[in-house]
């Protein structure tokens, strides 16, 4: 009996601790959403989770300063091509590395592994310099094209192909006279679609949230993706006066991501898990 009471006690304590932790994850977000509907004066006067009625007012301040929806559109114009290019070309490269035997294949693979371990700051200055020399500053091209060579994704998909794609299936296809490209598109891609989806979500989020590169490479405010646009927020005098508007701008940037997460959380979580067991 004592053991049972003890067990219930342990259960309760740990669940309460985990729920408090969950609340800690949500509170700053909830507070931001609530404050987006209150005026700056109200926010500095009192702390509450009851929404106010200044949403319209804050909205006008935000959109008088910048068009956040343009930021959304720009972010999409970057993230969609990045996702498609990295998805298709990574699968193609991984397929070739896993299936065919050709000179230099192993070297390519080793170089990929080495470059996965090189931190990004080593290429930062050289990359900027390259873009400068190519006269591509303020263009989307250097933000999109490099996704054709997503070495981490290639590495992961190659391992996936090796473990899941039956080579006998390709042999059979060849006997039937199928072309290699046809087999890639019709046999290989369907088999690894779940892995591609997982990797693509990661690529999309990475591009959607990236700040440093677009901030360095883009000059024209009209071309700014959402994170860069948001970072110009502190320059606005109206917003400094009314922090409700600041909260609203942050809320507008957060809400779609959180909604998307509710739909895709399973895939997102499996993409992180994949990262840790790929060893």
């Amino acid at each position: 009996m004592g053991a049972k009471v003890w067990k219930t006690f342990v259960y309760t304590i740990i669940y309460i601790a985990m729920i408090i932790l969950a609340i800690t994850c949500m509170i700053p977000l909830a507070l931001t959403l609530v404050n987006a509907t209150r005026t700056g004066a109200e926010i500095s006067r009192s702390f509450t989770f009851v929404p106010g009625d200044a949403l319209k007012e804050n909205w006008d301040i935000v959109f008088n300063y910048f068009n956040l929806f343009l930021g959304f559109w720009n972010s999409l114009k970057l993230a969609v091509p990045v996702t498609i290019l990295s998805g298709y070309f990574s699968t193609l490269t991984a397929f070739a590395l896993a299936v065919y035997k050709f000179k230099g294949r192993d070297i390519i693979f080793y170089v990929i592994v080495v470059f996965m371990m090189i931190p990004g700051q080593l290429s930062l200055l050289g990359f900027y310099n390259l873009v400068f020399q190519l006269k591509m500053i303020d263009s989307y091209v250097p933000l999109i094209v490099p996704s054709i060579a997503a070495s981490g994704t290639v590495f992961f998909l190659r391992q996936y192909f090796l473990s899941i794609l039956p080579m006998s299936l390709l042999e059979a296809g060849r006997i039937d006279g199928a072309k290699e490209w046809y087999m890639f598109h019709r046999i290989a891609i369907p088999i690894v679609t779940p892995a591609i989806a997982t990797m693509s979500i990661g690529a999309f989020i990475g591009s959607w949230n990236s700040y440093l590169m677009p901030m360095l490479l883009l000059n024209t405010p009209k071309k700014f993706p959402l994170p860069v646009m948001l970072s110009t927020l502190s320059a606005s005098k109206d917003m400094a006066k009314n922090q409700g508007a600041k909260y609203l701008a942050v809320s507008i940037s957060i809400i779609p991501v959180v909604i998307a997460f509710c739909f895709f959380s399973r895939y997102i979580i499996s993409s992180i898990s994949a990262g840790s067991v790929k060893e």
Partner: protein, 308 residues
């Protein structure tokens, strides 16, 4: 299924079809060489010069490197980075590890893993820009909801200037970073636990091992490679910390330069000051890389003493 037939077929055709492999890897290789390999070597080349971002390069050998080693502010930025990173990693991995222990417990079998995992992960999907602005606004000295709320609960509370004091600002970044990343570390560790074969636990239970012994003798050793992976990646990520302190405290690393991380220091010479000292920034990048490499190797050796 006749393996023999397939094998003879393979050798007789001498794999002519293998040539298509070149074509398939070509786009990757070309883009990789231009946008991944070239920039790394370009940075190396620049680091041996007095390059200002345009015009010709004048090579000066190891001059920039000698300057980095002697630069007091470079070492201060390393110290700042570690001061942010150490509390961050203890909190982040500590929480993740604790949660992994809870959810992998064989006796209590806590439910709701998918729910908690998703909620703990939410801060990680939000862009750092949004998080930085959210917390700078929430932690504002006079108008921020944190101080207003604390004052409401404790009327005697004297508002702390969280972001304006060098005693608190770096740790604010640590805590926010941990808040943002512990869910990610938790998912990775948990994936490792779920990859452990259930048979091990059942067999050891038959042998009379209790759950603490199971945790110490089965879960821990099998979790070690993933723990190593998570800690090395977060170390590399931590030393490269840029977005959060930069967005919250600006390029000077206010207050009093206490949040100036190494990458912010590199950024200062490569992009902010006029005229730019790109060559010096390049040397900072490579010194930083060497530091990361050394510590990663030590970390790896410490956790894998037998592997050699």
């Amino acid at each position: 299924m006749s393996d023999k037939k397939a094998a003879s077929n393979k050798s007789s055709k001498l794999q002519a079809y293998n040539r298509v492999g070149y074509l398939m890897v070509a786009p990757f290789v070309i883009v990789f060489l231009i946008f991944s390999v070239y920039p790394v070597f370009r940075t190396l080349q620049i680091s041996f010069s007095t390059y200002k971002g345009f015009g010709p390069m004048k090579f000066v050998g190891f001059e920039n490197y000698a300057r980095v080693i002697k630069d007091k502010f470079f070492w201060t930025s390393l110290f700042n980075t570690l001061r942010i990173w150490i509390p961050n990693i203890i909190l982040q991995l500590g929480l993740a590890f604790l949660l992994t222990m809870i959810f992998s417990d064989v006796k209590y079998r806590f439910r709701g893993l998918p729910f908690f995992r998703a909620v703990y992960y939410i801060p990680n999907i939000i862009a750092v820009t949004s998080i930085a602005f959210m917390f700078t606004t929430l932690l504002d000295w006079q108008h921020g909801s944190v101080n207003v709320g604390l004052h409401q609960m404790f009327p005697n509370y004297v508002p702390i200037d969280w972001l304006g004091k060098k005693e608190t600002a770096p740790y604010v970044v640590s805590v926010i970073s941990a808040w943002q990343w512990f869910g990610n570390s938790f998912i990775m560790l948990m994936a490792g636990v779920q990859g452990i074969n259930r048979d091990y636990f059942e067999a050891s239970a038959i042998d009379g091992a209790n759950r603490w012994v199971q945790f110490a003798k089965i879960t821990m050793p099998l979790l070690k490679p993933i723990f190593l992976y998570v800690s090395i990646t977060s170390f590399i990520g931590g030393l490269q910390m840029f977005d959060m302190p930069f967005l919250m405290f600006g390029d000077t690393g206010a207050p009093f330069g206490s949040t100036m991380t190494m990458i912010m220091y590199l950024y200062k010479y490569g992009f902010v000051i006029k005229p730019k000292q790109v060559g010096y920034a390049g040397a900072i990048a490579y010194v930083l890389f060497i530091l990361i490499l050394i510590v990663s190797i030590i970390q790896f050796k410490l956790m894998n003493p037998k592997e050699d």
